[in-house]
């Protein structure tokens, strides 16, 4: 198991390098480069200076290697410095945003909590809703509960999140006035009242994302339960006189959770992508909004770094899912 994990970790390195190269080249070779966006009235020598200051005049492989060094060497050092108060990274050049002229990582760290609270709680709530629904739908297959669950799940992943979001805004903030339609990032939770405000402003984005996640996970849970309910060991357990509760919630549930846990792990990075849209709908000032802003402002370092972070998340959670699968299911051993 350990050797498998180490092998997968080593394999992740070339994958990530390749992805970073793809992202870098895609952004760099594109004809609509930011250099063409400097106004034509700027005199040529000033234009050259601007390009030089952005570091955009170097050949592409130099910039790629520099970016790699900054991402994998300088930024971790900065992190260590900020934790231990040391000064390893002093005088080193960090990845700097072209839009705001401040280090990309600082901005990302600033935006991270908003995304994590909204996306994270939405995912947790989605899972908490989905698992019991999946269990009961499978246990009473083709009952009215199952039919209803299937229909709601179908709606959940057919109706795009931006439409559910807009409809929720329409009903709950325009017509009923219960929740604010815009997420206030500067709200600090200090007492009960501000906590309630925070809950109120999180209610709608979390509901949208949770519905979407729950509809997918409940489907997986249901089909996994159905697979296991038809197995021989279930009949054995019943024949031994186990109560129905023990059969379903102990024997079947534990076995059915194995694939679902990996699906849950695999879904974590994709929800960051989905959150881009939800953040835009509810004006949450998170990573997705940052990416959209950087894209519209042609802020290449920011776009490259953010996209690459999303890629790292995907690769990491793929790895976690694989390892989890092997750990949870003794029948699967990779070595």
């Amino acid at each position: 198991m350990l050797t498998f994990t180490i092998r997968r970790l080593l394999l992740a390195i070339p994958t990530l390098l390749f992805i970073s190269l793809v992202i870098f080249l895609l952004v760099d070779f594109a004809p609509g480069s930011p250099m063409s966006q400097i106004p034509l009235t700027v005199p040529p020598e000033v234009r050259l200076k601007i390009i030089e200051a952005m570091g955009a005049n170097e050949p592409i492989f130099v910039r790629y290697l520099l970016w790699l060094k900054q991402f994998f060497y300088v930024e971790p050092l900065v992190l260590i410095d900020s934790i231990f108060g040391s000064s390893y990274s002093q005088g080193m050049q960090r990845i700097v945003s072209w839009q705001s002229r401040s280090p990309v990582m600082d901005i990302i760290v600033e935006r991270m909590p908003q995304t994590l609270t909204v996306v994270g709680s939405a995912y947790v709530i989605g899972v908490i809703i989905a698992v019991p629904i999946g269990i009961y739908s499978a246990y009473r297959q083709y009952s009215w509960f199952d039919q209803l669950g299937t229909f709601i799940a179908m709606i959940g992943f057919s109706v795009p999140t931006f439409f559910t979001g807009v409809v929720l805004i329409l009903v709950f903030s325009v017509n009923l006035g219960w929740f604010p339609s815009i997420y206030n990032t500067s709200l600090k939770v200090t007492d009960w009242d501000s906590f309630m405000l925070q809950v109120k402003q999180m209610a709608m984005p979390v509901a949208v994302l949770a519905l979407y996640n729950a509809s997918q996970i409940s489907r997986y849970m249901r089909s996994s339960m159905l697979d296991n309910l038809a197995q021989d060991y279930v009949r054995t357990a019943r024949a031994k006189g186990m109560s129905e509760r023990v059969v379903v919630l102990k024997h079947v549930l534990r076995n059915s959770l194995i694939p679902v846990v990996t699906v849950i792990a695999l879904g974590i990075p994709t929800i960051f992508g989905g959150a881009i849209i939800t953040e835009q709908v509810f004006k949450v000032n998170g990573l997705g909004a940052l990416l959209i802003n950087a894209i519209q402002g042609s802020d290449l370092p920011m776009v490259q770094t953010l996209t690459f972070i999303f890629a790292v998340l995907i690769v990491m959670f793929n790895l976690i899912a694989d390892v989890l699968y092997g750990m949870l299911d003794p029948r699967i051993r990779y070595d």
């Binding site: 994958t15 390749f18 992805i19 793809v22 992202i23 895609l26 952004v27 594109a30 004809p31 609509g32 179908m154 709606i155 992943f157 057919s158 109706v159 795009p160 931006f162 439409f163 807009v166 409809v167 805004i169 329409l170 325009v174 990075p269 960051f272 992508g273 989905g274 881009i276 849209i277 835009q280 990416l291 959209i292 894209i295 519209q296 042609s298 776009v303 953010l306 996209t307 999303f310 890629a311 998340l313 995907i314 690769v315 793929n318």
Partner: protein, 306 residues
Amino acid sequence: MTDTSVIEKPRSQWADVWSQFKTHKGAVAALTVFVLLILFVTIGPFIWTVDPSYINPNGAEMIRTRNKPPSWQFPLGTDQLGRDMLARMMKGGQVSIAVGMVAMLISIFLGTLVGVTAGYFKRLDGPLMRLTDLFLALPLLPLLLVMVMLFRDPLARAMGPESGTFLLIVFAIGVTSWMQAARIVRGEVLALKEREFVLAARSIGTPSRRMILRHILPNVVSPIMVSATLGIASAIITESALSFLGLGFPPDFPTWGRLLFDGVDYIQQYPERVIWPGVAISLTVLSVNYIGDGLRDALDPRIRGR
């Protein structure tokens, strides 16, 4: 004594599939809805012949026909420039469904190509599957956004704003969504290769090309069809998401996603302008998903005939 007259006439596979498909009530309803939606966007403009981009050149008239509620003249009302919403919904639907179909064709073509090659030629299996894994590890929505942002203007300049954006979006969605199909097809091909009829065909010296076209491909049609249906749904969602983020088609060129995006600014005064395109997108995707569900059951020989 056996009575030979009760033996039924031989039925073709597709008749069987259709009769199984018909037992799935949701799928039949979905098929009806989908056909109606297609008729709405294709035949509709011939019946409702209002120009979707017509803005009254007379300024005073234009202001008077702005933001109209539904009436006999404008069944779905008008937008902030006095354009007829019904006509725009039809035009927008044409684009959205066309994007879904073409992007699906591209992704299915790529997925089948990669899947069959990887499954059939052992030497290519490793590299091609590594490539698929790499593509699966790419953050797709951010990359799509970046691609659209970077290539939209040059392509629009080269080929005109409409066809340029259309090609770009269709191509971008197709290139980033073939991986699931490739994996499924590869698995099927690997299983097929062990079957006797493949061995028989190989033993009479069938060349690889004919082997794939005559023996392998017809047998992987069912999974391809299912993933094609689901591919339409996800392509339509992706296109409208791009339009919704303002990185899709140009503003004067309606798609359902774009109409929704434009409507959000007026949500307080005219909520119906968000509801119509949103309902259209959701209905299309929902019906396509249900059709896919029914197809999956109908094409599965283990379920069929039960």
